[in-house]
Symmetry: C2
């Protein structure tokens, strides 16, 4: 039994594998399988655990190894029915190019049927100003954008790909416009945006009587992350929507992979509901004028509801750990090996224990993946910005 509305979906997932914990394909495979998708997984690294632990062992797959596994599928015709390619962390520019080659091959195979192939590209490059892949990956990803159907950058990655600094909703809208128009990406979702609180914005569906006191509003904003999505019109203009989600003061790993995996299943579902599965790139016609009416918005609402529930439960576990840690006087996570000082070893043990406690609890909360709870609390709202999309998008948006 798959999740009620998700149509049969066959996915090729190319991302990292960790033995312990939930990031990359280790996260995405389980999440998509839980929603009834058939997943073929090519792993780009084989690590003991994710890098958030600050120590790990294992090896990266080379571009040739990735292509070899794909060639193995191709020689037996096992690559002939993928509805979706989901690509995540890729450790080198060569390997990024290799994944682009695979995507083009799948696009050719899918061309027999309209809407027959869809590439969800998560351009994993870095976060909060810091690159964690080789520099050469940035132009390598830019070169692939015209082949992608949906990209899922975070704020930093969206800035890198669009050559646009994002400081407020207007600059964000301009960045999305560059991705749509210059790079030809039909669908964009920018995850985990922390908008400058002083920036002004208005949403088109602000309900009367919902005004809050300024103080309350500021507090609410501080605990909120914003997801911004858009599907371009035929003239490559953005149709923007936003969803505000609770932000936890905890560093979770793998949430981007979780978002991407849920998005694959939920977008298939929403696109099927809208009758667009046989339309190229599953794009809504221009009669859908506002972002909140997009299947992408419906999908993101369900994704955010599942993530809100699972991250909320994971956060409860982390707080429990912190509580026990506090009672023990802060030495928790150590092995009781005599190192009770305030030294580096204790700090390191605490970091390991905290990181472990923050592993996202997907397996025991699979029902929250299958039936997104409280989806009404994650309604997408159209975003109206004061930007003239008919003006030139600028040379800065060209391929770098």
């Amino acid at each position: 039994m798959s999740s009620p509305g998700v149509p049969e979906t066959s996915v090729l997932a190319i991302a990292s594998h960790v033995a312990y914990g939930y990031v990359g394909n280790t996260m995405a495979t389980f999440v998509m399988q839980s929603l009834g998708c058939e997943v073929t997984a090519i792993n780009t690294v084989h690590y003991s655990n994710h890098t958030g632990y600050k120590q790990f062992k294992g090896r990266k797959a080379t571009a040739d190894e990735i292509l070899d596994l794909y060639a193995g599928l191709a020689q037996s015709g096992l690559n002939d029915a993928f509805d979706v390619l989901l690509s995540g962390y890729i450790p080198s520019a060569d390997a990024v190019a290799a994944v682009g080659k695979i995507a083009r091959d799948l696009r050719l195979l899918g061309a027999r049927r309209p809407g027959g192939f869809f590439w969800v590209l998560d351009p994993v490059m870095g976060d909060q100003g810091r690159l964690y892949v080789p520099k050469a990956c940035v132009p390598a990803y830019k070169a692939l954008l015209p082949s992608a159907d949906l990209i899922l950058p975070n704020q930093f990655e969206a800035e890198l790909l669009s050559d646009t600094k994002i400081t407020d909703l207007s600059s964000l809208a301009r960045a999305v416009h560059v991705l749509h128009r210059v790079h030809g990406v039909p669908h964009v979702v920018i995850t985990s945006l922390r908008l400058d609180h002083t920036s002004t914005y208005k949403t088109t569906d602000a309900e009367p009587g919902e005004e809050k006191k300024e103080e309350e509003e500021e507090e609410a904003q501080q605990q909120t992350l914003t997801i911004i999505g858009s599907t371009s019109t035929t003239s490559h203009k953005p149709r923007l929507f936003r969803i505000d989600v609770p932000a936890y003061p905890i560093f979770f790993s793998g949430t981007g992979d979780m978002f991407a995996a849920l998005a694959v299943a939920r977008l298939r579902e929403a696109v099927a509901e809208a009758g667009l599965l046989r339309v190229r790139s599953w794009k809504s016609g221009d009669e859908v004028r506002s972002g909140e009416g997009l299947p992408l918005a419906r999908a993101c609402e369900r994704v955010c509801a599942s993530m809100g529930a699972v991250l909320g439960k994971t956060a409860v576990g982390v707080r429990g750990w912190e509580g026990r840690e506090g009672e023990r006087g802060g030495g928790g996570g150590g092995k009781g090996d005599g190192d009770n000082g305030e030294g580096e070893g204790v700090e390191r043990a605490r970091h390991l224990a905290r990181t472990r406690a923050a592993e996202v609890k997907v397996v025991r909360n699979v029902e929250d993946l299958r039936v997104p709870p409280g989806v009404e609390r994650f309604r997408a709202r159209a975003v109206d910005v004061d930007v003239d999309f008919d003006a030139d998008v600028g040379v800065g948006g060209g391929q770098g």
Copy 2:
């Protein structure tokens, strides 16, 4: 939400990984996760697809790579809470020894709590008289047997490990006795046994009025595979039970891995029900005199019920494919590339398509994994054999 009765279980799974399809860890990880287990997976090969296709690409992990991933877990203390090690396909004798090293380390870590660590060893070496690992793996596995808690050989592997030819229930019982007594394995399940139809056996709980005509019985036997299990007494004598399951005239891959993965979760469940989780090797006391009273028997019933349901549904799909194949005149599976003769290419294409159709459909039948249907049709029955277990088990059962 885990399957109702399976207690929290953390598993280290060491086995193969295929990008496409369901064997090894690709099968076992999903199956155990579906039953609520937390699974850490170390992959021993990285292949495009299983070898039943007769062609594949990818690479084997070396013994050093396997140990390196484990060392990665160990350096961050992530190996400190495994309840179960499940080991499956291991591609070399060196790698078998490496897994033995890992098992001994986990045993030491688990020694702090009684019953705290349990190794399910599937000694994947070959089938039906044919070895598909290097010869040196046989003594390598024999050397590990004293460290294992439950082994899951097929008939051929049980013969190799016990140095006992199995032709009937008596020789089978002697083989199991050797595994218990000479090799010190507490629990043994021999999967997919095709007993010589002319052999005689009696079951202790044959119901009166259940006699069938000889003809009917023969037909029933021909479509039946037998699972034989045993947990040793304190004097290392077998307590045997059997479960007869439907055999399909279809070659499925990954069924051994599926059995092993389900067995991990269901044995945890049955052992918890019997209050034995804190007993060394989860062994029932000698007051349980008959095999059918063992938690291992309860576990195998639930495993067989889930497998019966999922394989039955998969078989329906294969028959559908065969039907369409017949209508098309037997050229199915080909790419319509002009090779319409009766040549090698057509035969190969047909083999690939049939093998693909026979991939076990676990993802879309996850409810059959979580709630085993019709378990009453898979009741374990005690096996009574005319063997004197007090007699010498013979030198042939020694190591090497």
